[in-house]
């Protein structure tokens, strides 16, 4: 049996994290529809409680080991050898925290902007949170798959019910796109299950050695699921539609957490399970990443829709993430993971900000804006921080991530490094142009007389600013979580599958 560090506190913290939001959702079910305020308060309280509960993870995490921590294991379906198996390592722990934090902010930002079906909205939000945490904690592939698919439902509802005018199309597109990918992954999971001797345990699956051809096929099956989620270049077109139509909270969750899961999937499954295929496919993945970076960036230059622009910038930024991950060296992968976090924070914050101004103007057309900085100076200051973080200015988190990624990519392939570095120039171009068109120049009639941020919005944006500078100035607070795990991952990828020494390391 593989070694893990069991949760010895006697308190099933991960299960609690998954259950608590669900409990909140259940509680909301019993609140009268008329009592809007109570619904929101319960949503807020439960999201804060979940966040508070996740903080011990940050504090108690053992940064010296790559082993799984806080592990819980119970039988689920013994006949199929499926287990309820949870645990965290250096890759996933930060994303659990990100998920819990972002949910609070989403609750805050939806406080007034969601006017219809409030009850259902907050239920969806809390169920979403629970599923997200589940995805990051699962150590059983089937359990992972269940959470992975469960996530689709609340998100589908968030887009399809509370979205913009074209919401049904966007929601269907989002749903079908991701579903097609996941189904292929399911096939892959089942193949692994039988090949590795009827187990869904990720750690045990990692120990098995798979023939190269099979690895290749599985790699592409997993690719279908993860690349759609990321989204990588040719399968990115659901993202702009989903982001544009989704309500603010939906966009934020989508940007901050949901699309991280694709990259997380690559790290958790594709790379350790299929090391030979990963190495063989690196050139392809690097190429796709570089295309995504440049393609997404250049498209942003021609966007006229605020949310659409940020959505395409996500394509570009996630290109950086996959670039780093598939550089297959320490800097690249750590940069990639950090950049996932960064992108979650920065793009999440950008969507929060866009939501804030959208609530006031009800337009997403960039041409309708102008001169917002004169009317809303505090808001403008927050937005410039997010903009700068997005274009990777030193002292913001974006810089650390992008720098490490580019360094890693340059190490892996000079062409990839050089070409993707042009993404930084393009990024500055579209973000600053956006900022200019929205905030600078003469005040347009649509924004004249808008009120600046209120306390609630300030509270929603503040954590993001703090995180941006925290990671930017002292990234080691976060990088230190990853070191052993990433080291271990790289050893695993760079070794032939199933070599004795690797088995020794894991067992």
């Amino acid at each position: 049996m593989e070694q893990t560090i069991n949760n010895t506190s006697g308190f099933p913290i991960l299960s609690m994290l998954i259950v608590l939001p669900l409990a909140g959702a259940a509680l909301i079910l019993f609140i009268s529809r008329a009592n809007d305020r109570a619904v929101k308060m319960v949503g807020l309280l439960f999201s804060i409680a979940t966040f508070a509960l996740s903080l011990p993870l940050f504090a108690n995490f053992d940064k010296t080991t790559h082993l799984m921590q806080f592990v819980e294991q119970h039988e689920w379906i013994p006949y199929l050898n499926m287990n309820y198996h949870l645990g965290l390592d250096g890759i996933s722990v930060l994303f659990v925290l990100l998920s819990t934090l972002v949910t609070i902010l989403c609750v805050l930002i939806s406080w007034e902007s969601v006017r219809m079906k409030t009850k259902e909205f907050f239920i969806s939000l809390l169920v979403m949170e629970s599923a997200m945490i589940g995805v990051f904690c699962s150590l059983d592939f089937m359990l992972f798959y269940v959470f992975w698919e469960a996530m689709l439902i609340p998100m589908f509802l968030l887009i399809g019910v509370w979205g913009g005018p074209n919401r049904i199309y966007a929601a269907m597109k989002f749903f079908l796109y991701t579903l097609v990918g996941s189904v292929l992954m399911l096939v892959g999971i089942i193949v692994l299950y039988f090949y590795a001797g009827r187990t869904f345990n990720i750690l045990e699956l990692t120990n098995a050695a798979y023939p190269f051809k099979m690895q290749l096929m599985l790699f592409w099956a997993f690719f279908a699921a993860f690349a759609v989620k990321v989204p990588m270049f040719p399968v990115h077109t659901w993202l702009p539609d989903a982001h544009t139509e989704a309500p603010t909270a939906g966009s934020v969750i989508l940007a901050a957490v949901l699309i991280k899961m694709g990259a997380y999937g690559f790290l958790r499954f594709s790379m350790p399970l299929l090391p030979d295929a990963t190495r063989a496919m690196t050139p392809v993945m690097l190429t796709l990443s570089v295309i995504a970076i440049i393609y997404g960036g250049v498209i942003c230059l021609a966007q006229t829709d605020l949310k659409r622009l940020i959505a395409y910038s996500s394509v570009s930024h996630m290109g950086f993430v996959t670039l780093g991950i598939f550089a297959l060296n320490v800097q690249g992968i750590e940069g990639g993971i950090l950049q996932m976090l960064n992108h979650g924070i920065v793009t999440g914050a950008l969507f929060l900000s866009v939501g804030i101004i959208y609530d006031r103007t009800h337009t997403r057309d960039i041409a309708d804006y102008g001169g917002v900085a004169s009317v809303m100076p505090v808001y403008a200051s927050f937005f410039i921080v997010f903009t700068l973080a997005s274009i990777g200015l030193p002292a913001t988190n974006g810089f650390v991530g992008e720098f490490l990624i580019l360094l890693g990519a340059f190490k892996a392939s000079q062409w990839a490094g050089v070409l993707s570095a042009t993404g930084i120039i393009i990024g500055a171009g579209y973000m600053l142009w956006l900022y200019q068109r929205v905030f600078f120049m003469e005040t347009s009639s649509k924004v004249a007389g808008l009120s600046d941020l209120n306390g609630r919005e300030l509270v929603a944006l503040m954590p993001m600013v703090i995180l941006i500078f925290w990671i930017g100035i002292y990234p080691n607070a976060f990088l230190s979580f990853m070191h052993p795990t990433v080291q271990h991952l790289i050893e695993r990828v760079n070794s032939g599958a199933g070599q004795a020494d690797i088995l020794g390391l894991i067992k």
Binding site: T237, K411, G417, M441
Partner: protein, 639 residues
């Protein structure tokens, strides 16, 4: 913990206080905090200078910034001769310009914002010069770029200002692209990005070649040229010079501080700092020298015909920066840094004088509409005259010493292009003198050509503005005296002081030659002044005639060689066209979306076809049912 850390962090603290409390609480008092902070930095910088003069150096880390695998980089400080010179330049100029701004920006709605940006700029610039590794240098590098963006676009309601800020940032990003790659190559070569080990090991790689994008290149040349890309962007050299003239949209103190005295010289600082690397590559040095010389000449010619007061000075800045690169390129790093140091004073002075003129003229910048201002603004006139003499290389003033040292070392140095760049440099000296005095004559002499209202409004600027002018004027006169060349009986102290960091460039020539070079540069300077006197004082109708005679040349010069239009035509517009029409129009909409929507649509079409089977007529169903029975029966029979 050392007091050095306070040098940058004092302005940082001022920035934070101002940005958080400025809008609501400090308002008109915001400048106190910034000025106190930067003055404190100045005091600490002076103590650092004294420490270094006494032979001490410092190189230590504050804390580990990024640690990932073998990559480790800290926030740390290196205090050596080069650093303290930069510290003195930055803190002195910054302090004086802060004080100047109190008067200049008085009553502006974004008063607190202006001072917080200035503080942030000072912080970034100090981080840049005090860095002990390349990444922190990059940090400061981008930081000053950001402040430049904020300050150029300070009047953000004006489209031209916000355009200029954006342009500055993006053009700089092109340079930083190369700079960043340079840092990657350094890390991959040396395994570290700290100056000290990199420079000490650079010699080991003197002859190494490396594969770069499929080509075999000389390693040191590669690194040097990539780093130089950053310099080109930040110091506005060809072909990335386009942002600096537009940057004049910012308030004038900003132009003086950022776009004349400090930030734009960061490129020169970078080359000087990396002199151990540049010195190992003759090719790179040649590129640096030629880029500098060409830019210098090129910008000077544009400066000849511009009418915008600040733009003329801006082109003069580009030209002088070219001079500094020219110096570095011929191996005379200390001469380049020396020119950087003197230039900071007289160019900041020129800008501040221009600001003073603007203040009096109510924001008017066209020198064709000025004239005879010396009557109204004697202090401004006098200080600006001194500054112009200094830049024109009037013997005894600051500019004379530094310019002469550069020209002499170019002439006599070992560089293969030395003679060529000396010739170009001399031509630039002539042009510089000409356009500087064209400016003086058109602005301060002759008859006032503006409106009546403006004339009525003319006045000398307040004390808070004229005192910094006078202080800087002292610098413009005397800052050169620290390094009087041997031939004039001095000791060339500056070069001696810099020797441990920058090495010593030896000129190989006789005293006669040195006298000749000096005489030529001085005489072309006087010739330029004389020509300007002739054209704008004695025969004021002449310039118009000449420009008519050579209208094509004039148009090209006036339109800055159409470089902006060229970039727009070959770079910006095609990119956006491709984005709009190919990426969005074809790739996304026609190819990817066609597949994505095509699959469900074809399924829908198939279903629609299949639906027709459902006629709703029960006999059809019954027939099909019977046919099913028939098929089953047939199968059973045939088995």
């Amino acid at each position: 913990m050392n007091s050095h850390a306070l040098i940058p962090f004092l302005p940082l603290a001022a920035f934070m206080i101002n940005i958080v409390f400025g809008r609501k609480y400090l308002k008109e008092k915001a400048h106190w905090i910034s000025i106190l902070a930067v003055a404190g930095s100045w005091v600490l910088a002076v103590t650092a200078l004294i420490e270094v003069l006494s032979g001490r150096k410092f190189n230590y880390d504050l804390y580990t910034w990024i640690l990932s695998g073998g990559f480790k980089v800290s926030v740390g400080f290196l205090i050596d001769e080069l650093t303290v010179v930069m510290l003195i330049v930055v803190t002195t100029c910054s302090t004086l310009i802060h004080i100047y701004s109190v008067g200049y920006m008085h009553g502006d709605s974004g008063y607190y914002r202006f001072f917080s940006y200035l503080s942030l700029f000072t912080f970034s610039m100090l981080m840049l010069v005090m860095a002990n590794n390349f990444l922190q240098l990059y940090f400061g590098w981008e930081g000053v770029g950001l402040c430049s963006y904020f300050l150029i676009g300070y009047y953000f309601n004006k489209k031209s200002a916000s355009d200029a800020g954006k342009k500055a940032f993006i053009v700089n990003r092109f340079g930083d692209f190369g700079f960043g790659l340079g840092i990657f190559v350094i890390f991959l070569t040396f395994g570290t990005v700290y100056y000290e080990p990199v420079f000490s090991q650079a010699g080991n790689f003197a002859d190494a070649t490396v594969q770069f994008l499929g080509y075999d290149v000389h390693l040191m040349t590669l690194i040097a040229l990539l780093l130089f890309c950053g310099s080109i962007g930040k110091s506005a050299q060809m072909p990335l010079h386009v942002w600096l003239p537009d940057a004049m949209e910012g308030p004038t103190p900003v132009s003086a501080l950022i776009h004349a005295a400090t930030m734009v010289t960061a490129g020169v600082f970078l080359v000087a700092r990396c002199s151990p690397i540049f010195s190992l590559s003759e090719t790179a040095l040649m590129v640096v020298a030629l880029t500098g010389a060409v830019t210098s000449l090129f910008a000077a010619t544009i400066g000849l015909v511009q009418n915008d007061l600040k733009r003329i000075i801006a082109y003069s800045t580009v030209s002088q920066l070219g001079y500094m690169f020219l110096a570095c390129g011929v191996g005379a790093y200390s001469a380049g840094v020396f020119h950087l140091y003197t230039h900071a004073f007289f160019k900041a002075l020129l800008f501040l004088c221009a600001g003073s003129v603007m203040h009096a003229m109510g924001g008017e910048l066209n020198i064709q509409k000025m004239g005879n201002l010396k009557k109204y603004m004697p202090v401004t006139y006098f200080t600006m005259l001194i500054a112009s003499f200094s830049i024109a290389g009037f013997p005894g003033l600051a500019g004379f010493f530094s310019k002469d040292e550069i020209l002499w070392l170019a002439y006599s140095g070992p560089s293969p292009v030395g003679k060529l760049v000396w010739l170009m440099g001399t031509a630039v000296a002539f042009l510089t003198a000409f356009y500087s005095f064209r400016l003086i004559f058109l602005t301060f002499h002759g008859k006032f050509r503006g409106t009546h209202e403006q004339e009525h409004h003319l006045h000398e600027s307040p004390k808070s503005m004229t005192i910094p002018l006078m202080l800087l004027c002292v610098g413009a006169v005397a800052s050169g005296w620290v390094s009087i060349p041997h031939i004039l009986g001095g000791h060339a102290n500056f070069a001696e002081f810099m020797k441990p960091v920058l090495g010593h460039a030896e000129g190989h020539g006789t005293h006669a030659e040195e006298w000749m070079v000096m005489a030529i540069s001085v005489s072309v300077g006087f010739a330029g002044i004389g020509l300007a006197w002739f054209m704008y004082m004695t025969r004021p109708e002449l310039p118009a005639r000449i420009s008519q005679q050579f209208s094509a040349v004039h148009r090209v010069l006036f339109n800055k060689y159409y470089i902006d239009e060229l970039y727009s035509f070959i770079l910006i517009r095609p990119t956006i066209w491709v984005a709009k029409n190919i990426l969005i129009g074809i790739t996304d909409a026609r190819i990817i979306e066609a597949v994505v929507n095509g699959v469900p649509n074809s399924i829908a079409a198939f279903s629609a076809g299949l639906r027709r089977v459902q006629t709703g007529l029960m006999q059809h169903y019954a027939t099909i049912m019977a046919a099913g029975i028939l098929i089953i029966a047939a199968v059973m029979l045939l088995r």
